[in-house]
Subunit: 499 residues, 2 copies
Amino acid sequence: MGKGKSFFAVEAATGNSLPVEFAGATLDEVNEASALAWEAFPSFSETGLETRAAFLDRVALEIEAIGDDLIVRAMAETGLPRGRLEGERARTVGQLRLFAKEVRAGRFQELRFDAGDPTRKPVPKPELRLRNVALGPVAVFGASNFPLAFSVAGGDTASALAAGCPVIVKAHSAHPGTSELVGHAVQKAVSDSGLHPGTFAMLFDTGFEVGQALVADHRIKAVGFTGSRRGGMALVKIASERKQPIPVYAEMSSINPVILFPNALQQRGADIGKAFAGSLVLGAGQFCTNPGLLIAIDGPGLDAFKDAARAALAETPAQTMLTGGIFKAYCEAVQRLASHSSVAELARGQDGKEFQAATVLFETDASSFLAHPELQEEVFGAAGLIVKCSDERQVLEVLDNLEGQLTIALQVDEADHPAAQVIVPRLQQLAGRLLINGFGTGVEVSPAMVHGGPFPATSDGRSTSVGTLAIYRFLRPVSYQDFPDVLLPSALQNSGTGK
Amino acid sequence: MGKGKSFFAVEAATGNSLPVEFAGATLDEVNEASALAWEAFPSFSETGLETRAAFLDRVALEIEAIGDDLIVRAMAETGLPRGRLEGERARTVGQLRLFAKEVRAGRFQELRFDAGDPTRKPVPKPELRLRNVALGPVAVFGASNFPLAFSVAGGDTASALAAGCPVIVKAHSAHPGTSELVGHAVQKAVSDSGLHPGTFAMLFDTGFEVGQALVADHRIKAVGFTGSRRGGMALVKIASERKQPIPVYAEMSSINPVILFPNALQQRGADIGKAFAGSLVLGAGQFCTNPGLLIAIDGPGLDAFKDAARAALAETPAQTMLTGGIFKAYCEAVQRLASHSSVAELARGQDGKEFQAATVLFETDASSFLAHPELQEEVFGAAGLIVKCSDERQVLEVLDNLEGQLTIALQVDEADHPAAQVIVPRLQQLAGRLLINGFGTGVEVSPAMVHGGPFPATSDGRSTSVGTLAIYRFLRPVSYQDFPDVLLPSALQNSGTGK
């Protein structure tokens, strides 16, 4: 595709190059893609709702039409198992169809009508009509850990297209073959829908140059990103230093605390420990919502939890990580925790081959956790840390010192409700989603989902990247005052959808 | 009030000190106010809707109860005439009451309910309930040009309080007496409503230290500002460099272009010229929505417009500006334009005493305007610039090179509609509000109003600072998964307002 530096895809399980070569984009190609997207923007943003919805449905169909090739390719490139990838594909096409429905419903336009009153004193009241308009072309960065649902045609792309924004994807170099298959599917849907070819483009790059140039381009009006804190903040910086700064929706780092309440621990500490182990190792821990931190008051209930978690983890095989780089970073982070003076290793999963990570569960006490802010840093992978507290007061102190999170889960029994009632109002200031007696690792794609949260979980805690609310990230309100019907956008005309 | 450096209010018309002394805040007092606001936040954000609405109504009543003292004081400090200030007071209390209604209606909570399905395969569907929660304590900067409607109890304060956010106002030093009267009114309403005293605080400072410390304080979670581009961007920088960056809603600079279409000019060029002159000099041009730029195709219609504007402006007396600093900056900016090699002076209003500014209307041609980006810089005051274009193509070129605006107005007759239809889609990318056959200087406080726009009109073009939508600036969504009723916030309970 591109004319830049070429590269090979890498098999996650072996670190070996796969046979097909991919070509990175040049800066000229970034410029060309941005120019095309800008050209496509006026028509794409004003397509009728049915046209845009049908296009999203068609993208879903085209992705399904790739068939098993997509799964096989993604398995090779990411090391993720078939079942997980089939589920992720279902989620990806389901997401596109959900946004198609959302577009058809039209609510996201948020139409408002204020009647005028020419007789009002001292000044006449103007007539005002309001709707949301699309921000403009959006740059989307594919994520390493969800090669389908947070990548080329993932949540950011689906919600930006639904909003009426052309999309340029910077594909993640960890799964170029998967990206190419999906990218072609979207391009076919664009063309078969008779849309401007600039509606969608995809660029490859194994480095940072292409992505940085994209975010700096004056025709790009918003950015969607899922990845590391360092990567996200680098994009935020570029976006804020532009002549016209633009919003960056970067989902970055979260350790998703789980608070174990005393009665729940006492009644079913072992059950919770086993369930926790299952959540921790899901997808080799490579979820944004991986439960990386446990907070509990020490005692027999916590001991039962630990025993069960230890037993479950001991039987857990090592799992292939997404890339050699992620594997290396995980090993280093685990090593840092293992050698930390205030941290003890509590349990460890089975070892594996190279690129396969063993799960590790650590523990520390509340005072050490509070004294060492580095213990809050996200470890991307299946590593967890238990923070033992001496009493409820210490639990509160730990909570008051937590950074922003995507999710916080509470394990509670009925007898814990009074204590939980005290804590929930604080927790809602810390996270986008709170869960009772579950773990955050399943992220439902639905209207009431929030997959977002205060910094550093995301760079913009007022938004979500999963669920129908995600469309609002790419919209802004415009008010039309005293417009004759013929000059109004059709949704606001007297004969339009809104009146 | 404060323990910092004291200062006197200044009479706008004379530059003389007024007799009462005010005390600036110290950094200790900033810290104390933030600590109190943080303490007030949990209870204030969870007040029942009726309690919060009644509080806003009470603030309006208390402001009215100050009576004429408020108007007299504001007249002295700002130089604005009685009629304008009485209108602004009506707008301020009307705004508070509108937000009270909005709070009672409860729509801003955006409650969402997704039913669960424990039998779903392969994984059960969780139950999700969503609501918007308040961001936290908000710092509001009073504006110099609206001593009531954009100051201590103005739009930012009203919308933040409505959202459930405690507010700390940094009062503008140009009208400390006015601020103190309103600040006491709000404090009385807080106390009479039985709310936590940290719900509202006001700080004085003649410099930047207090405001900067406020924005940097970790307990402040959002900022509302109306003022200069330099001032707004300084706050954006501080907010983005915090350990936890926060949103800044800064309304900064806009020249509010007016596009004069050929048929409208031909039919009623003189009428438009007269109406324009009236809008330009309103409030000595000290409106964010002041029409500072006219774009038109040269010809007899434009000549008629210019003749009428010239005649009207020649009869316009000079007007007292808000402060000596603003007067000086206006004179310098006018001088820069007058001596600009590509700019000609077209009309001038009457001269006045010191601190009184004369209106000036300049003209240039499109090529010069495009070649000199500095001609787009906002002149705060009653100065306008006409950009003469040779044809429609040149009008489009000028539009394509405009920065973001609060408003863009079109003067059109029916015969201009085809040409306007081409331009409107571009304009909606440039401004928050578009008007037909009017000027942007009246800003209606209502549900369909957008007083915002792309950078540099504001630092966040996805929002509005006037109208009921303004409340959304201070909210973020939170999702509650599988919560027992007793742990949910009341609005989301089965017996709550939403179900």
